[in-house]
Amino acid sequence: MLKRTGAIKSWTSDRRLTVMTPHNETIQRELGAAFIDYWEKKTGESLYIDWRVPGGSNEIRMVLDSLYQAADKRVADGDGDGGIGVDVLFGGGQLFFEQEQQKGRLVELNVFAEQVDLFANSSIPASFTGEPFYDDEKQWVGVCLSQFGIVYNEDGLRAIGVEAPKTWDDLADPAYFGKLALADPTKSGSVAKAFEMLVQQKMHDRLKNIQQQPGEPMDKAIARTKREGWTDGIRLIQKIAANARYFTDSATKIPHDVAQGDAVAGICIDFYGRTYNQRFMQPDGSSRVGWVAPVGGTSLSVDPVAVLRGAAEPELAQEFVSFLMSERGQLLWNGQPGSSIGTNKRALRRLPVRRDLYIPENLAQFTDPEAMPFENSGDFVYDPELTQNVFGSLRFIIRVMCMDSHDELKSAWKSLIDADFPVRAMAIFNDVSEVSYEKAQHEIKRAIESGSKIDLVEQSIRKGTVFRVNFSKVKNMADKGR
């Protein structure tokens, strides 16, 4: 009844590579099998890959902090080499890797010197749509692409009477009330990025046609336009949050709930959307689950890999990275299972980072040949100047305005919908001056960076109270039709 597999055991293999990753089980199995196979053919050594999966990038961050703290203490006591028993860090988003790199936990990758051409001729561009694809200091490199978008349920859309969403704005439609599955930006850098993109898009829209007021110098006009764009973005986030059923830190919960109809739409990453779309695909090509990248509202970013400081198997780790960047390793991400370039059993549904591999012979064996990310994502360019320095503030604002006060926000929005958006109540609802662009750049940013947690707590209590009071006011006024 319980079959034993012929899997290599850690005690019978010649060598062992330890990889810490948030990647799902399918990626581990398919890529793992391919690398083990490659290594055996190359060196004759059998290999066991020890996958460490504490959870998502958040859990990995906490585990790494804990492990490195102990390791550093050992080094200070004159013992040990600073290693934590893990060789490779694989996946978790580009922001996460930047943070780990800043903490000095990564080492230089050989692949940059070995495969100079790839980087020189922009098979792997240094950046795209404003996002870096590899580290300046060569300590991490993007392996596959990801994008955030909107996943939706066709039956659900029909039931609430709306068309398929195409832009972030569509999610603010009151028809979605209680039916949006949102991800929690305070738990994931990538999700926070998606919200940042939303705000940037609004700022870009305003900046495309700046309305200079009489007597106003251009630079003042630009500054004012940016502030207005920010306010547009915050208001949009507020409405989307008001429609939300929950904010979850579980990435797979969102597409699953949408597929099961418990939510009508949600924000999720591209390959989950595609996987669920295919899973429920009917013979005629339709599927109850669809995914779309919002027009002009999302950038293309990478999911990197790196070698950790103090790795027990540094050369093997570097070989793993090189394998992932090789043609074989890259094509596995979208190759059809069973095809010459594809995986063994299951498709991974992700897109390789190497631009040079999107050629007809390969595309013929891709599971998603029409995705063409480099062609299709060019109309949004992430501008770090606009929002990068207020990234932390944005997360704070979403937590305080939307999540902590979620119950009150929802009540207010419901009352507004039922009363058909009375003017005065709506004005109070739209008053987001507490979290303006100015405040985000100064007051809130200062509180976050001061390092004083108690100040941050004070800020969140104070601002949270302002919003909750406002939302109650809105509800009362709307209930009375004002």
């Binding site: 319980l2 850690s10 089980e25 738990k187 830190d249 418990d262 299951r346 209590i461």
Partner: protein
């Protein structure tokens, strides 16, 4: 019991507890008191009470705790009474089935509930089929009425704890007392109020205490309902905050404090007034055989509670065989493929072996420690033993994640608990101890209840006759509380097998995964992850069910037949 021995045992158990519970807990909670520049501060603690969101969360948590406890009592007590007093059709099987909620595996249980109660789930499909619901406007059960949903699900999950403890208590009652009251003309309700109820108070209290603290701190159930305005979810959210927020740790401290205070207060009100039985029951137990009609009614009640409590299990079973399950009563294209794929997966078989090893080890450790500490609490006259009692309940109140991270940090090479994992990084010893610490409250409570109800004069008589202390313990005391110990051990084992936080954080290498982590890993398989995990979940349920039935059979022969099977 001589006080010297009591003090020795206490010292040993306290040492164990300090190293393996207080130390990691304090280590993990220090963030709540660390001032910005180092040093000590109460600001965060005060911040909890000044934040209306946290206050509301605490209030909701209290209401959920009390509500779940009361509902669980309302479900479990009549069932236990019925099981104790009457014989009705199918009693043997129903008595075991009613404990089914104990074997619900984590993660997939929640998924199972949603398959049944979701917007396009089975329940709505049934209602639509019978014309009781509009197909274009299905009701969102999980989205509305979340507070009561949480209480209901908690009560349905936890009533077996109360059921087992109350049944064990009732089995100790001397029917002679009730019969005497009946002979003297006491009406049934008065009899119940003045004789039965006071006598089984220790059992009710021990079960209720566990159920309250568990519901007060329960995380999984509110998450199923996306009910976020409650302390446990606020803590969980806060711990994972990218800004390393100290507030959740302060909130944990407050919750632990509240749990302890409530526990101590209710213990002084309810449990210390236990009336001790005078020796073994002097007449045979008087189970009445009910008339067929009445018997069928009682059986039907047991059966319905069983079915409702098993909604998550049914969900898991159906999910494990489903091709697609959307808007229909039962899954469309049912298949056994997930079982084949799941059970041939390299993670699975080792995980089952691992869980067995960890679970049995932890239960054995708990039985030894729990009995010893219960002895001190009940039989000795050592001062401060009531505080000791409260201390033993603490593991229930501390959220899993916190303790798990404490263990992780302290078991790193060079840290104090490193010896537990050793160079090979095998977490077996660490997991056994972690599980044991968490399950200790069940065994302690059960053993304390048993000792409170056993008559100390029997032991004294043995000592007067010349028996040594060890002999007395082995041949008189332990058999008398055997039933209670069996109840505690069964609960401890079941929950150890299904333990989540420690398993996720501490078992880092695939070869050491227990079942719960294997389920979690399988969940993330693209495409049919939920179905695969459900297949393993069903396996875990079946296995645990068989184990429990086996345990009942064993306990039944040795424990005066309460759990007679």
């Amino acid at each position: 019991m001589k006080n010297n021995r009591a003090i020795l045992i206490t010292a040993a158990v306290i040492a164990f507890f300090t190293v393996f519970f207080l130390f990691p807990m304090v280590y993990a909670l220090q963030a709540a008191f660390r001032a910005d520049g180092g040093g000590f501060t109460f600001k965060y603690l005060l911040g909890v009470f000044r934040n209306p969101i946290y206050l509301e969360g605490l209030w909701n948590a209290l209401r959920v705790g009390i509500g779940s406890m009361v509902l669980a009592i309302l479900i479990a007590f009549p069932l236990a009474l019925a099981s104790h007093r009457w014989v009705f059709p199918g009693k043997k099987w129903l008595g075991v089935l009613i404990l089914a909620p104990l074997v619900l595996p984590p993660f997939v249980g929640a998924v199972g509930v949603k398959e049944i109660l979701g917007v396009h789930g089975s329940f709505n499909a049934i209602l639509i089929q019978f014309g009781m619901m509009d197909a274009t406007n299905p009701r969102d059960w999980l989205g509305q009425g979340r507070f009561f949903g949480v209480i209901l699900m908690n009560a349905l999950h936890l009533y077996p704890i109360l059921y087992m403890n109350v049944l064990a208590a009732l089995s100790k009652l001397d029917p002679a007392m009730e019969q005497a009251a009946q002979n003297l003309g006491c009406p049934p309700w008065e009899r119940f109020k003045r004789i039965t109820l006071p006598l089984c108070m220790p059992g009710i209290f021990s079960g209720a205490a566990v159920v309250f603290i568990w519901s007060f701190t329960e995380l999984g159930v509110p998450l199923v309902f996306d009910y976020t305005r409650i302390s446990s979810v606020q803590i969980y959210d806060g711990i994972k905050d990218l800004n390393q927020n100290p507030m959740p740790y302060a909130l944990i401290f407050v919750m632990v404090l509240i749990s302890t205070i409530i526990y101590l207060v209710s213990k002084s009100l309810f449990a210390n007034k236990a009336v001790v039985v005078e020796g073994k029951p002097s007449v045979a137990s008087n189970e009445r055989i009910l008339s067929p009609a009445k018997g069928m009614i009682v059986s039907a009640v047991f059966m319905s509670i069983f079915v409702i409590a098993c909604i998550p299990h049914i969900g898991v079973i159906l999910l494990s065989v489903s091709g697609d399950w959307y808007g229909t009563m039962l899954p469309s294209d049912m298949t056994l493929a997930h079982y084949g794929e799941g059970l041939s997966h390299p993670l699975v078989v080792p995980s089952i072996q691992n869980s067995l090893f960890y679970g049995l080890g932890a239960t054995a450790l708990d039985l030894i420690l729990g009995t010893a500490i219960a002895w001190v609490i009940v039989r000795s006259t050592m001062r401060g033993r009531h505080l000791l009692d409260a201390l033993m309940m603490l593991p229930l109140a501390v959220p899993g994640l916190v303790l798990a991270f404490g263990y992780l940090a302290l078991s790193q090479p060079g840290q104090p608990l490193d010896f537990l994992v050793g160079a090979s990084n095998n977490p077996a010893m660490l997991l056994i101890i972690a599980y044991a610490v968490r399950r200790l409250p069940y065994v302690v409570r059960a053993a304390v209840a048993g000792l409170q109800q056993s008559n100390v004069s029997l032991e004294e008589a043995a000592r007067t006759m010349g028996a040594t202390a060890q002999s007395t313990v082995r041949r008189i005391a332990l058999p008398l509380i055997g039933a209670n110990l069996a109840a505690g051990a069964i609960l401890a084992f079941a929950f150890a097998m299904l333990e989540v936080s420690d398993s996720l954080i501490l078992a880092q290498q695939a070869e050491h995964y227990p079942i719960t982590k294997a389920i979690y890993a399988l969940l993330s398989t693209l495409g049919n992850g939920h179905e695969l995990a459900a297949a393993l979940g069903v396996w875990a349920m079946v296995f645990l069910g068989v184990a429990l039935i086996g345990a009942f059979t064993l306990a039944g022969k040795k424990a005066g037949g309460i759990f007679r099977f």
